[in-house]
Subunit: 177 residues, 3 copies
């Protein structure tokens, strides 16, 4: 089994300043540990809500660290400091609208304010970048919804071969693919 | 309770030329009167389907009149003269795809042509701009679907504090927000 | 009944090189023959996954051949060679997000990887351009989902008047339209 490189990017002015603990980044790592049987190498960053910083972090994790998957948390709402979506759109060559649509559809079962989320996903080089919400509970709900499509997506863009922990979640690969 | 400033923009060549009455703008005001307990100050415009005119109207309502919410009706279809979406995309710094997705999903329960709508929503300064359909019945259906998220959205962008008429509709604000 | 001009564009490096047969283009023609009572004039192209070639083909089918409807198959996934979406976005003056949303929602009933599809639709001149998936089965599922809105869309952009075969599928036109 190949080792999967996963970038985890928490964008938060307060967490990056040490004002509170980053429980969201931890939540992502916990879910990935649970969902994937492969060995995992995490590159973790906790950075302020500054678009240029987020962009350079995403580029570094994709271009230099060759992450197969980069997951962000925070910064996808309508507020002025929410710029993770902008950074993601700026560094990706392809945008996968279906991720945002499905994550909003899932969150909408819990809260009507799900429509305020600008979460998206996209491709940069051989990396899939996915924006997740800020709250650990919502992170898990969203990852459960989109994870089944992630291993095949990463196959298609030339990343490492992910093996899902089928006792917890199933990855889907089309027959003959 | 704060006074809410609401811009209502009907884009229609014929209504703006006085060829028929603008029942859509009236429908929006009626729904807002029903949904919000705050005092309301409406800025109403009925203008032709000209992108530059729509853009300058949206800018004026946001930048000069400081509207918390700007609601448009008309001009979001596939026809050549439908340019309200274009104007909205041009003047907003953030686009909230979830509004369009949810409004289309709701309209799709009634008509399969809902997928032709290019309704969207976005942020300009401290204003939320939302495109609604042209027909009064569809206006109400769409507002019922997205209104619960609007007060919290306007909190996040620094607008006035909306108080929903909970006998008619509930606004949702996350706990601790 | 007017004759409907339909462009059918298969984008596939392998099919265009004759390495395998283009069953997807055939599938589209079969569905259109089944759905539409009008006489049909097909303009069929099988071309490689090269963005500039796809763009010039779409322009030719719209601007010169005056197709009412142009349907593509293939090239909407996340892989590097998938550029049909990019070409569609580049040549259209209006994008109709609702088509992509609904096609992904329909495909999602069958496969969780539906969120990887970047299928979209848009308007160029008097032509509606719709991206379909690559597989015949998925092509039919998607066309069944979006076809009911297509005749009215083409009315709105000044194309020919489509007559659906109501024993198979219903087209929807709003009353008074």
């Amino acid at each position: 089994m190949q080792t999967i490189k996963i970038g985890v990017v928490t964008t938060s002015d307060r967490a990056s300043a040490g004002i509170y603990e980053d429980i969201s980044g931890v939540a992502i790592i916990n879910v990935m540990d649970e969902f994937l049987l492969n060995a995992k190498e995490y590159e973790y960053r906790c950075i302020p809500d500054v678009q240029s910083t987020i962009e350079s972090t995403l580029k570094e994790l994709s271009d230099e660290f060759k992450c197969d998957l980069i997951v962000t948390t925070g910064g996808t709402g309508p507020a002025l400091r929410d710029v993770t979506t902008e950074a993601t759109l700026a560094v990706c060559s392809k945008i996968l609208d279906g991720f945002g649509e499905q994550m909003r559809a899932v969150s909408l079962k819990y809260v009507p304010t799900a429509i305020l989320s600008r979460q998206t996903a996209g491709i940069r080089g051989n990396s899939l970048i996915v924006n997740l919400p800020g709250k650990p509970k919502s992170i898990k709900e969203c990852l459960e919804a989109v994870f089944p499509a992630i291993p095949y997506c990463i196959d298609l863009i030339g990343g490492a071969y992910m093996v899902a922990n089928e006792e917890v979640i199933k990855a889907f690969r089309p027959k003959g693919a």
